[in-house]
């Protein structure tokens, strides 16, 4: 603390010796080699702690006469610029800061709020009462992936595909992490497959290792991270026709479009789908409440699944 005040107050670069003489806590017992050594270690530790906090520590010399580098903090680089939030904007910031439930991000948000409050802004945590958005990130791989993205550094990890076998090693240039519908994904360039891929973080097994140098991953211009995940997760393209029995399968009716073709046996609905088997799973779930009409591939998939469930031979 005293070090920060001292370096902010000076225009000149101060050498380590000058700092030692000025800042209390450093000064005792000069000349004793053991104490000198202790000061050096302490000063190094304090410098790295300040840099970790984001304090812009400048090093340089005041003139040719200086034998070694000195230190100072430029007030202009240190101080948070003026920020003037209206009460409703401050409330919005307060609401946003409570979004994160993962350790790393919530701590960062907490630190940001502390500084905004120190800038005189009243961030009232109760202002947006009644609304509580939360984003969890409990996947073990989350922080490592986010850090790699921000460091622009290639990574390798073991990944288990949804309908598969043992985990496989994947080499990826990470572009971003995306929370989609409550699940986290890593988007990047898969080096082995030479293509853009999305990885569900919960399917990453074991540690995420950094394999290349920081700053070497180049993210494509204008990348739409969320769009890539949306595309890979649920591209609805085709339409099936399904007969829904009277009073049954309310859940299916809600996501389907009625065709107006209705009779005593039930009503025909159009259901959008991307994957034949996923739709068949959904329809089989409604049991005798629905009949898959077409396309034939969906109908056949439903019949096959029902045969196995009912224990009919040939299923």
């Amino acid at each position: 603390m005293n070090l920060v005040i001292c370096l902010l107050a000076t225009r000149q670069y101060l050498s380590a010796e000058r700092i030692r003489a000025t800042v209390p806590g450093y000064g005792e017992g000069r000349g004793d080699p053991a104490v000198d050594e202790a000061f050096k270690r302490m000063f190094e530790r304090d410098k790295s702690e300040l840099r970790e906090l984001g304090v812009p520590l400048e090093t340089g010399r005041n003139g040719w006469g200086d034998g070694e580098d000195g230190y100072r903090i430029a007030r202009r680089d240190y101080e948070l610029p003026d920020i003037d939030l209206t009460p409703d904007e401050a409330a919005a910031v307060g609401l946003a800061a409570r979004l994160w439930q993962s350790a790393g991000l919530s701590q960062a948000a907490h630190g940001a709020l502390q500084k905004l409050r120190a800038a005189g802004i009243d961030v009232d945590p109760r202002a947006a009462a009644g609304i509580q958005p939360r984003v969890e990130a409990s996947e073990p791989a989350f922080q490592a992936c986010l850090d790699a993205v921000r460091a622009a550094q290639p990574i390798r990890f073991d990944y288990r595909r949804p309908r598969a076998e043992a985990p496989q090693a994947r080499d990826v240039q990470p572009w971003g992490v995306v929370s989609w519908h409550g699940h986290w994904y890593l988007v990047g360039h898969d080096l082995d497959r030479a293509a853009t891929r999305c990885f569900r973080l919960s399917r990453i097994h074991g540690p995420v290792r950094r394999t290349g140098r920081a700053g070497t991953v180049v993210v494509p211009e204008g990348l739409d991270l969320a769009g890539i995940v949306a595309e890979s997760v649920q591209p609805d393209v085709q339409t099936a026709r399904v007969l829904v029995r009277p009073g049954r399968a309310q859940g299916l009716r809600r996501s389907a479009t009625p065709t107006g073709n209705a009779g005593p046996e039930g009503e025909v609905f159009e259901v959008p789908y991307a994957d034949r088997d996923s739709l068949a799973d959904l329809l089989v779930g409604f049991g005798a409440g629905v009949v898959a009409l077409d396309p034939p591939e969906v109908r056949a998939a439903v019949v096959g699944k029902l045969r196995r469930l009912a224990g009919v031979p040939g299923g």
């Binding site: 984001g54 680089d77 101080e79 948000a109 519908h181 045969r307």
Partner: protein
């Protein structure tokens, strides 16, 4: 979290740097209020204040040290030793706020979008260089392309009822029973958790606190009568996840093939063990009809280990459904009516 925070020396230094400008902006603030704002206990803040007293400009004479004056329980900075402004935001701090503001702005009807975007622009400006560079993180609380029609208006109605403390009429789909019901509820709060939105409310029909998933609400009416949440109705603690085990629920034990491993990710399980390529799980079951639909949908990827009644019910329902395709040997598939 609050107990852990502020204990490391780095956390403490960062708080001390913020403390002087914080106090300076609020002359005469109560120590307790400052402690709660900064997320530390009152004794911890008092220790911080004692430390500030021996910090100051080089020389450390009486006129160089930070000076505080106490009056009763309140505190005022009388000399700041040059600590007028807080430190800039770090890249992580800037990112956490900017992404969160963007995330909320992306949900139509949740909060005033213009306010969120103005706040975002101001924070971005104040963050300066720290905010530069690709975001690398994106959060979609909702899938905008697959919203049910009218969901924005329903969300806005719920917010309006919360703000005006009015009761709501809901038409709600109950998946366990596969039916749509009408009920009157007293709204308590709106939750956006695990990628879904929920209304937490006192349900007058069930006489209990219930969570209503917004995508299962088919219609909302803001009623004229005021909301009357009973005093003993308590919000649920979200620390252990949204759905807590209840002893009144039964359980089912399933063996899942590799293609059904996702079930363990999606539904809260009491127990998950590896079994060959797949898993054996124990699930809590709120409604027997729900688990029957789940198991039917999993087809050959799931085997019911317990209870035996569930295995029988699944087989019987599949047999009945199969009857409807009895003509398929001849390829024809007819239309109704």
């Amino acid at each position: 979290m609050a107990e852990v925070r502020g204990t490391t020396t780095t956390d403490r230094l960062s708080r001390l740097l913020a403390l002087v400008p914080y106090l300076q902006a609020r002359p005469g603030i109560a120590v307790a209020e400052a402690a709660s704002d900064l997320g530390v206990s009152e004794p911890q803040l008092r220790r911080d204040l004692e430390l500030l007293w021996v910090c100051g400009l080089p020389g450390h004479g009486p006129g160089d040290l930070i000076d505080l004056s106490f009056e009763g329980d309140s505190v005022t900075v009388t000399f700041d030793a040059g600590m007028q402004r807080p430190l800039r935001l770090t890249p992580d701090e800037a990112m956490s706020l900017l992404v969160a503001l963007q995330t909320l702005a992306d949900v139509p009807g949740l909060a005033d979008r213009e306010v969120l975007e103005r706040a975002r622009a101001k924070v971005e400006l104040a963050a300066g260089g720290a905010a530069a560079g690709p975001g690398g993180i994106s959060v979609q609380l909702q899938d905008q392309r697959h919203q049910r029609p009218g969901s924005d208006q329903r969300l806005a109605s719920i917010r309006a009822a919360l703000e005006a403390a009015r009761a709501l009429g809901l038409t709600y789909y109950v998946p366990g029973r596969d039916e749509t019901t009408d009920r009157v509820v007293d709204p308590m709060r709106l939750l956006l958790v695990e990628g879904r939105s929920y209304l937490e409310a006192w349900c007058r029909r069930a006489e209990g606190v219930r969570l209503f998933r917004l995508d299962r609400i088919d219609a909302v009416t803001v009623l004229a009568e005021p909301s009357r949440v009973p005093d003993d109705a308590s919000e649920r603690d979200l620390a252990d996840g949204l759905f807590q085990p209840s002893s009144s629920y039964g359980t089912a034990r399933l063996r899942l093939g590799p293609g059904a491993r996702w079930v363990a990710d999606y539904y809260p399980c009491e127990q998950v063990t590896e079994h060959g390529d797949g898993l054996e799980i124990t699930l809590r079951v709120a409604d027997p009809r729900w688990i029957q639909r789940l198991v039917l949908g999993l087809g050959a990827e799931a085997e019911v280990l317990e209870p035996p009644e569930l295995a029988q019910a699944v087989r019987a329902e599949a047999g009945a459904a199969l009857q409807q395709y009895a003509d398929d040997g001849d390829a024809g598939h007819g239309n109704p009516g």
